[in-house]
Symmetry: C2
Subunit: 355 residues, 2 copies
C-alpha cells in the first residue's frame, strides 16, 4: 500500500518553542489515517494535515469503547540522528491488544512505515533537549454506527505525534504513590494486559482520590485477592530488596511494559539478579520498615524510569531510601536514556535509526 | 436553561416504514447536545438535526474511554399515549455512572426535560406495533484533547433516538446462553456496576466465542472466584427454582438493572417469593439436572424479558424447561409490557406519560 500524502500549509509546519512542554497537549502538523471496512480490509492510508475527525453519534467507540492504543517515542540523538525505541515491540503489542479487543490487526511492517514516514515528515517537531522526545500515539477505534453491542465492522487507525518534555512535573525526583484498597484496575480474564481505553477510564477515580491526598499515582493491587502488587498508574514497578531486584510477574492483568522488559534484560546484562514473581504489599511494607527495601521505581515509555520515594498504604506514608533517588534507579535511567539518545552503544539492538 | 431548537428539513422528518427494524441502526431526525466546560458547567443545550460530530484526534474518549450511557424506551400505547418507563431511575443511574467515572452529573429534571422535548419532537418516529419502541440513548463522553491520562475538563452530553423492533432476532423465543470460564466482565472495585463503555468492550471477545459456538449471549461468572453467576450480555438473570425465584444479589460488579428491579417488585406484588442472593453456576447446573430449575430468563430494557432455553457450561448444553418459554416468564413479560403499552393499570407508578 502506498501512503497518500497531503501536506499542511507551510505556516502551520513551523515548529514552536519547546520550552514549556506539557505532556500530550500540542501536536505536529500532520497525522496518519487509515480505514478498515469488513470485506475490504485496511485501505486508503493517508498522511493529512492534523485536523478534527468526524464521527457518527452512534460510533461504537463512543458507547462501547472498542479502542486500543500504543505509546512510543522518537528521540533526537546527540549525534543528530532520530531513533525509535523498540518500535516493533510496540507494534506487536498493538496487535495483541487488537486481538483481545476483537479489532483487526495491522501489518507490522506497514505500521512501521507509516510511523517512520510521519515522524520524518514532522522531524522539526522533535524537541532536541535531553529528556524531551516526540511522543508517538498510534490508535485504532471502532467507527461503525450501531447501538447494538457488537464487534465493529469499521475502524480508523490513526497516528498522532506530540512533542513532550519529561513526564512528571517534578522532574527526575522521586514520586509518591498511593495504594488503593477500594478500587481495582483489572483482574484475570479481563483486559488489564492490553492497552485499551476502559482500563484507563476505570483508573480515574482512584487516581483522583490519590491526588486529593497529595500522591502522584496509584499503586494497584491484584483484583482477586487485593494482596499482590500489580503496577502503578501507567508504569510497571520494580523493588530493589537487599539481595534482589524484583517486579511483579505478568499475571494476566498487568500490562507487559516494554521498559519493564528493557530493565529486566539490562539487569541480567549487568549481572544484577532480577526476578519476576508475586510481590505482596505486605512484603513491600515490611521490607520498608525493616530497611530492606533499598530502592523502588516505576518504568514506562512516558517517564522511562521514575523513582518512587514514598508509598502510602492504609493511609500511612512509608518513605523509601529517605525519599531520594537510588543509585541503581539512576543507573538504569542513565543506561536506557543513554541508548535512546545515542550517547552509548546499543548492545541490545533496541533502537532503530530513522533516515 | 432553555433548550435551543433547530429543526431538521421537512423532507428529513418523514418517518420511514418500520417493518424491518434492526436494533439501533436508524435514528430520528433530531438529537440533543449539551456541552460541559470546567468552570462554566453544563451549558448551551440544543436540539439540532441529527448529524456527525467533530472530535479532536486526542479527545480523551477515543484513548481512555471516559464515557457513560443509558438506555431506555418510549412506548406508543394502545390508548395512543406515549409512555416512558421509569425515566428517573434511568437518569439517576446515569448520574451514578457519572460519579464512578469522574464525569460531572446532570440535573435530573433538566435531563428529563431534554428527553421529553426530543421524544415529542420526533414522536412520529415511535413505531406503533407492540414489541417495538423508540430506544432512547443518553450518553456523556470526554472531549478534552490531551494524551495525559486524566479526568477530562470538557464533555458532551448527547441524546439520540432509534426506533427499534424486538431485540432478539428470534423474537420471544428462548435464547441459548454460554458460560465463559475464560473471560471476566468485571470484578469488585471495578466498573461493572455502572454503564461505561469499557465493560462492553471487555465483553466482545467472550461474546464472539459464544456466537461461534451457536449461542446468543454470554453468561458471566464473578471475577473473583469464577463460581457465582453475575449476568448475561446486557441483561440481568433470574432463575425460577422449585420453590423460589432468585437473581444474583448486587455484588458490586453487576449492573443494577431497572427491569430486574421491576421483576423483583412485581414478584413481591404477585406473592411470589423472590430472593437476591449468591447463585453458583454449580447450583444452577445441578438444579437443571435434577429437574428443579423450572424457568430461567434475562431482564433488560432492550428485550424486557428474554426466556433462556439452554445454558452451555464446560461445553455441555443443558436444556431448561424443554427449551420452551415458561409460564412465569410469560406472566412477567405480559405484565410489564402491559404496563409499558398502557394496556393495564400502572399500580407501581413506573410510567410517565409524555404530552
Ligand atoms: C497501565 C500501564 N502499565 C505500564 C506501562 C508501561 O509500559 P511501557 O514501558 O511499554 O511504556 C504503561 C504505559 O505504556 C501503561 O499504560
Ligand atoms: C450489562 C447490563 N446488565 C443488565 C442490563 C439490564 O438493565 P436494565 O434493565 O436497566 O435495562 C443492561 C442493560 O441496560 C446491561 O447493559
Amino acid at each position: 500500500m502506498e501512503i497518500e500524502i497531503h501536506l499542511a500549509k507551510p505556516e502551520d509546519r513551523k515548529a514552536p518553542n519547546f520550552d514549556k512542554l506539557v505532556f500530550g497537549k500540542i501536536f505536529t502538523p500532520h497525522m496518519f489515517v487509515m480505514k478498515y471496512e469488513e470485506g475490504k480490509g485496511w485501505h486508503s492510508p493517508k498522511i493529512i494535515p492534523f485536523s478534527n475527525i468526524e464521527l457518527h453519534p452512534a460510533a461504537i467507540v463512543l458507547h462501547y469503547s472498542q479502542t486500543i492504543f500504543e505509546g512510543m517515542k522518537a528521540y533526537f540523538g546527540v549525534d543528530g540522528k532520530i531513533r525509535l525505541f523498540r518500535p516493533f515491540d510496540h507494534i506487536n503489542r498493538l496487535n495483541r491488544s487488537a486481538d483481545r479487543m476483537c479489532i483487526p490487526q495491522v501489518d507490522p511492517n506497514f505500521a512501521f512505515e507509516a510511523i517512520k514516514t510521519l515522524v520524518l515528515l514532522d522531524k522539526d517537531w522533535i524537541p532536541k533537549q535531553k529528556g524531551s522526545a516526540l511522543y508517538i500515539r498510534p490508535f485504532i477505534f471502532a467507527t461503525e454506527n450501531t447501538l447494538g453491542v457488537k464487534v465493529s465492522h469499521e475502524y480508523l487507525f490513526m497516528i498522532i505525534l506530540s512533542p513532550v518534555g519529561p513526564y512528571y512535573a517534578e522532574g527526575f525526583n522521586p514520586v509518591k504513590i498511593y495504594v488503593t484498597e477500594e478500587y481495582v484496575r483489572a483482574c484475570p480474564g479481563g483486559t488489564g494486559e492490553v492497552k485499551t481505553g476502559g482500563n484507563y477510564a476505570a483508573s480515574l477515580k482512584a487516581q483522583a482520590v490519590a491526588q486529593q491526598k497529595g500522591y502522584t499515582q496509584v499503586l494497584w493491587l491484584d483484583g482477586k485477592e487485593r494482596k499482590y502488587v500489580e503496577e502503578v498508574g501507567s508504569m510497571n514497578i520494580f523493588f530493589y530488596f537487599s539481595d534482589e531486584l524484583a517486579t511483579p510477574a505478568l499475571s494476566g492483568s498487568i500490562l507487559p511494559g516494554i521498559t519493564r522488559d528493557s530493565v529486566l534484560k539490562l539487569a541480567s546484562h549487568l549481572g544484577i539478579p532480577a526476578k519476576e514473581r508475586k510481590i505482596s504489599i505486605d512484603e513491600v511494607i515490611s521490607a520498608i520498615q525493616e530497611g530492606r527495601l533499598k530502592e523502588c521505581f516505576g518504568t514506562g515509555t512516558a517517564a522511562v524510569i521514575s523513582p518512587v520515594g514514598e508509598i502510602c498504604y492504609k493511609d500511612k506514608p512509608y518513605v523509601i531510601g529517605q525519599g531520594q533517588t537510588g543509585e541503581l534507579t539512576k543507573k538504569f535511567f542513565d543506561y536506557i536514556t543513554g541508548i535512546q539518545y545515542g550517547e552509548r552503544e546499543d548492545e541490545f539492538n533496541w533502537t532503530v535509526v530513522l533516515e
